[in-house]
Amino acid sequence: MKRMAGYLAASVAGPVLGLLTYLGQVARLLVEVLASLLSLRIRWRLVLAQIVAIGIGSQLVVIITGAFTGAVFAAQAYFKFSELGLGSATGPVVSIAMCRELGPVLAALMVAGRMGASMAAEIGTMRVTEQIDALRAMGVSPLDYLVVPRVLAILVSMPILVGEAILFGMLASELLTVQLFGVPAAWYETQLLAHTGVPDILTGLIKGTFFGGLIVLISCHQGLITSEGAVGVGRATTRAVVYSSLAILISNLFLSLLLNPLLPTVTMDF
């Protein structure tokens, strides 16, 4: 009995310790990034290049994700709500869902898949081919040169991408309900807009920006600790995407609980 408790403790302690060490490392990276930002050694040319890669390169995926999610959500909501005689609630429910949850979470998951993977692969390859050492040998901080531009770029890009996901989700939901179910467009729009407030959109943008921060920290960290050649780069890439996605989904719950009281939904009676 005692021995089993010992085994149990040991098998729990290992992963817990590993998790704590990992969180510590990522937190340290965050502190170093903040210190670098405060010292204003920012390479704007690299920031711009990263904004192009992250922001512009992710347009299409994020728009498609937003549009199809909005449409399918509207369809399911309309099926059930019209059965219950609540068809007019479709627009407001789509709006809340897209602004507060689906828009930011799905946009962030897509960005994690695209950019998290590419950041970890690029930095990881630089690490195993000694390019990071070469930077350091020339007196250039890999943090200033590689991490900070990506952090700034993602913080600029994420709110825009989330905004687009929300917008296209709403447009697609309208297109679908109007065209397929014959709901009058003006009526759908009025319902939807009446229940979409600044706090809803703000919630989405704040969440998206926070998720962007998670993606860039987790992915750059994986890149920087890469070892063991091509295998290691593959592992870093996978981990960057999986860890970022989990972090997004888990933190989303806590963000919702935290943000909803601060930014409550608007209630307007018609």
Binding site: E130, Q131, M138, G139
Partner: protein, 254 residues
């Protein structure tokens, strides 16, 4: 006293220890690298030569022991404080370590721009000059990915010397080059030492180059210094591994 009048050795390495995952790679390595001279490091594959080189400019931190550069212990310096020291030490990495998102020209210009040079004409002139030195004139628009291994190595050499460092660390500068190029690069290293009084540390497997270049030879085996002294003394050594190393090279050249 300004650094260049400092009469002591350029590097002083004392009782350096390093290990990875519990496997010792350096076990108490001590030696001096005299200023303006060439020190050649010999040793079998996996002996710890590249690891040793990376301790000289603080890219790796030792488990124990110390590295002094121009009389300053660098162990306790932060990355930022190491910057001025690193900027006067050029490094040729074993596999080149070129930045593959930048062209050849941008790679070579990189250390100049990072050192704060804003004179684009001057930078272009210097880039052409060092590329010509390594036999790669007119290649500055190529991307590193399309270069052959030997070309990458020479671009990397050009990048390392572009900023006119006071000291050069070469990790196998002639490995993977044809005999003619190999000889040219060896001569270039010797010339730079003679003309610029460059302190050089050369890791090589090439005994011919070693005899041509070395003012001092270090033989590393299993992370220990087996020999440290003039090149001539190596032939009289009664250490079995050193004798094997030398006779194997003689056979390789037949």
């Amino acid at each position: 006293m300004s650094v260049s009048d400092n009469p002591g050795p350029f590097f002083r390495i004392e009782a350096l220890r390093q290990s990875f995952d519990g496997h010792p790679v350096l076990r108490g390595v001590s030696f001096d690298v005299p200023r303006g001279k060439t020190t050649v490091i010999l040793g079998g594959s996996g002996a710890g030569k590249s690891v040793l080189l990376k301790h000289l400019n603080g890219l790796m931190r030792p488990l124990a022991g110390s590295v002094q550069v121009e009389g300053n212990d660098i162990n306790d310096l932060s990355e930022r404080d190491l910057t001025p020291i690193r900027r006067q030490i050029g490094v040729l990495f074993q596999d080149g370590a070129l930045f593959d998102s930048l062209t050849v020209g941008e790679n070579v210009a990189f250390p100049l721009r990072e050192a704060g040079d804003r004179n684009e004409d001057g930078i272009r002139y210097r880039v052409n000059e060092v590329l010509e030195l390594v036999g790669l004139k007119g290649q500055e628009w190529k991307m590193p990915g399309v270069l052959s291994g030997g070309m990458r190595k020479r671009v990397s050499l050009a990048r390392a010397i572009a900023g006119r460092p006071a000291c050069m660390l070469y990790d196998e500068p002639t490995a993977g080059l044809d005999p003619i190029l190999s000889e040219n690069i060896t001569r270039l290293i010797a010339e730079m030492k003679d003309e610029l009084r460059l302190t050089s540390v050369v890791v090589t497997h090439h005994l011919g180059a070693m005899r041509f270049l070395a003012d001092q030879v270090l033989f590393l085996k299993h992370g220990e210094v087996r020999y440290c002294g003039p090149a001539a003394g190596l032939d009289d050594s009664d250490d079995r591994e050193i004798r094997e190393f030398i006779s194997a090279d003689a056979m390789g050249r037949t």
